[in-house]
């Protein structure tokens, strides 16, 4: 059975794939959400409000984490032997 399908590699691929493939887009989405917080009730008519400094900092953190993960991905390609 093990020579036909490598379960050990399979579950690792699923876990890492989930973290990078679904987790990073989610992190990116959180960053976008922090940049455009929902308008306060009865706020501006345009429905668009700017993020505060904390929001910008947190969003920057999210995007930096995503970029770091991409850098890690490229490192994986380059160092793969």
């Amino acid at each position: 059975m093990n020579s036909w399908i490598n379960l050990n590699a399979l579950w690792k691929i699923v876990v890492v794939g989930l973290l990078a493939g679904a987790g990073l887009p989610a992190l990116f989405a959180i960053g976008l959400r922090l940049l455009s917080p929902p308008a306060p009730a009865g706020g501006s008519a345009t429905g668009r409000s700017a993020a505060g400094p904390v929001g910008y900092a947190l969003a920057g953190l999210c995007f930096a984490a995503v970029l770091a993960a991409i850098g890690w991905g490229i490192a994986v390609i380059v160092n793969h032997s």
């Binding site: 036909w4 399908i5 691929i13 794939g17 989930l18 990078a20 493939g21 989405a29 995503v66 994986v76």
Partner: protein
Amino acid sequence: MVRSDGGPAAVGAPDRSSRGPVRRRARFWLVTGNDTILVLVVATALGFDFTNGFHDTGNAMATSIVTGALPPRIAVGLSAVLNLAGAFLSTAVAATIASGLVDTTDVTLTVVFAGLTGSILWNLATWFLGIPSSSSHALIGGVVGATIAAAGSSAVKWQGLVSKVIVPAALSPFIAGAIAALGTYLVYRLTRDVPERPRAHGFRLGQIGSASMVSLAHGTNDAQKTMGIITLALIANGTLHTGAKSPTWVIASCAAAIALGTYIGGWRVIRALGKGLVEIEPPQGMASEAASAAVILTSTDFGYSLSTTHVATGSILGAGVGKKGGVVRWHIARRMVVAWLLTLPAAALVGAVAYWAAHGIGGTPGVVVIFVVLVLASIAFFIASRHPAVTPENVNAAWTGSVVPAPHPTEAGS
């Protein structure tokens, strides 16, 4: 370039050991014969690399093109540059695709040539129909089929074929699809109260990033397969010793061929993937490409060279499932899956027929005849694809049930 590896010296050097005109002609013929076949094998392999490039452009760029994240020509240009870079980035893998799948002692230049013929013809046929089938499976199928024709089915390592090719191919679309579905659900959930405009803008940017990663991964994976095939041919010919690394000109020409193919852009496949399967919005595009890149890169790290096509198609389907109210055209997905199932046996059959034909005619003339047939068939496919053509201008036209867009009054004649 091939001739500088020692062929012409052997041909041109005065033949001191010959004892007569007949003997000399025989040796002369033998050397030139092999060199001719080698040149044709290298040309065919680069031709396959080229079809691999344009067949698979859509895997990385279809979603970015249909959501308008990138203009079509910019998208294929970016993908081409990243494929080129990817092909140079990691050349350590340059293991032949055949080792582990077939007994390499049975692989001759004619077998490699016939296998490539089978894979190119299958790639062209599926591209013409707008079906994103796996170029890797076409290559493996062609080589396996030609090997069976040459040396019987015992020369195929069936267990390697199942565990390295068939099981990963069966699982990877589901894994990628599940990841993309979860990712899509999460990004829509998390950004549900973000206004439409900044949301679309942000995800378009993210999409460019994730699609670029898929292009890079494609360059590292797929260009290597052709490098491996050419290296295998050079070893089979005795030009390189067993276990040699790919020479620089092999790496450079494979990188150039796949990049050029990518830049030409398989607009039919791009349209089928981006418009036919699912109506894609930027958040879905970003999630699906991220899932594709993640699955391909992690599997590569574990030594599985997955089919980029299967993963990308699975991801796009997952992105359609993960969005509430998303439209997935399952009948088109079914058609693609049928083509996937057919790819290995069909390419194997064409590869076997090509081997029998080349072997039946015999020697260099046999290979030359098949090469001419292959070139003519490629030209025929190209001409057929022009009437009507799918181009960067009409690739995003509304889906009307076929890969060829309905003629538009203002776009006629391209």
